[in-house]
Amino acid sequence: MRTLVTLAIGLVLLTAMALVPVLGPRILVQDLFKVLCLLVLALNWNLLAGFAGLVSVGQQAFVGVGAYVMFATTILWGMDPLAGVLIGGVVAMALSVPVAFFAFRLNGAYFAIGTWAVADIARLSFGQWRALGGGTGTALPRDATREMLGVGAVRDLLGVSPAAAIDAVTYWLALALAAVMLLACWLFLRSRMGLGLQAVRDNPVAAQSVGVDPTRLKALVFLLTAFATGLCGALLFIQTGRITPDAAFSVIDWTAFVIFIVVIGGIGTLPGPIVGVLVFYALQQLLADYGTVYLIALGLIGIAIMLFARRGLWGGLIHRIGYDPLPLGHAAPRPPHPTQEERP
């Protein structure tokens, strides 16, 4: 019942958001595109750190690899950028296998530093790729994005400029990716493996003693989040149209902001990243004109939340009202006629 209510509200919101490129101004489409991409990254990081206990500071590696692979398939091999997005995700996932092989030997803070180092190695390596502009980067050819799958149809349908049509297509893809990601997270966390993952998070030794293999579950999460993070990275840079190693592998943009979003929203809760990304967007709108002060303010807010509201905004709220619209738990089945003694 509760799930149905949440699903209905979700569908209404999804429809409303899908209409933004049709009814809203282009600047809103561009802003919301960034918000949706950050949401996808935040959902992934939340799954990693909040549920699998893998506090990675190197997710920008997968954003950057996804983006660079999409550029390579488009510029060097003349493929459709959208095919490049998919390949970008797959290559990011492939890269996560050797990364996991080394990083999983490290624990806690060492794992965080290890993943950061990997991401920086990736940034420096892709800066050596001459065909994609080396350290100064390169731009997507205009024709490639204009002829991208769906752009022509959207132009005809909405009667807008090619640039606006590209924005609309990337926006809808980001919206779909965010919706699928949210649904996939929910289904995964409620599955057998998700239950095992939550047991591992609470007590790895006890989890092993009831048959749960912590390393296997963590590796699975690491691989799947690398795939989704790679997809999201590639999509982000279709819309941007330009790539440099520093932008694609930015620890601030693709990890620090993402951590901020998850922490203020509520780490280890599913709707936490949604709340977090909305707060982040609002703060960005309010403080964007103040330059460095903006980053200092974000940092202070992050610290304040960590000290005084450890569950984050969403986590604190559901703890207080006791109603979770996206419950991850499994209620015990009740007998048809509960005896007096068995009623809680």
């Binding site: 239950l195 095992g196 939550q198 047991a199 609470d202 030794v205 048959g211 499994h330 015990a332």
Partner: protein
Amino acid sequence: MAILSLQGASKSFGALKVTDDVSFDLAPGEALGIIGPNGAGKSTLFNLITGNLRPDAGRVMLDERDITAETPMQRCASGIGRSFQIPQPFDHLTVYENLLVAARFGGGLSGAAAPAVCMDILQRTGLSALADRKAGGLPLLNRKRLELARALATRPRVILLDEIAGGLTDAECVDLVATIRAIHAEGTAIIWIEHVLHALTSVVTRLIALNFGRVLMSGTPEEVMASPQVQEIYLGIEA
């Protein structure tokens, strides 16, 4: 044929030999008690059986099969269940979910079969009313019950109980012993480490006394408890 056996198992932490050439067989459906003073290596022995520790020498056999190299997960799936001396619940999961994890993974049950099995175990261990309560907030007795219930949910053929009666009142202890007796009556083999001797001897048919990692004596509870050596070392009574 023994369901579980230890053959010359030894384990050292640095210079300290915690388990020293321990061998014993456990018959299917047998209830075996292990006693010994603190630091005698009782819990280490359990860790060797469950695979949380690897022995430096010797072998662990399950159904005559060498499982010394297997992980705790594999051993759990093969039928070895355990409760921890200090309860280790999954704090943020409910009591029911604690069992569900065990049933789905170690017990190998499907999503359709697991709920009924879990509810049945909760009923038997007196936890039904707390099924939807978070495990982190439970008091000691219920944590101990949960340890037992969760181990049962892995559907073990051998269950290892580590001081499960410690710290309970007499009345609570009587309840727990009744539950353990019922589990034993269904054919599950039990190895039980316990300081509460009257609880232990009311269930087990054989006792092993450990001291400094070695088997001091093995026999019926009466024989072992009557031994001057055991009384001197374990109970601190001058013979």
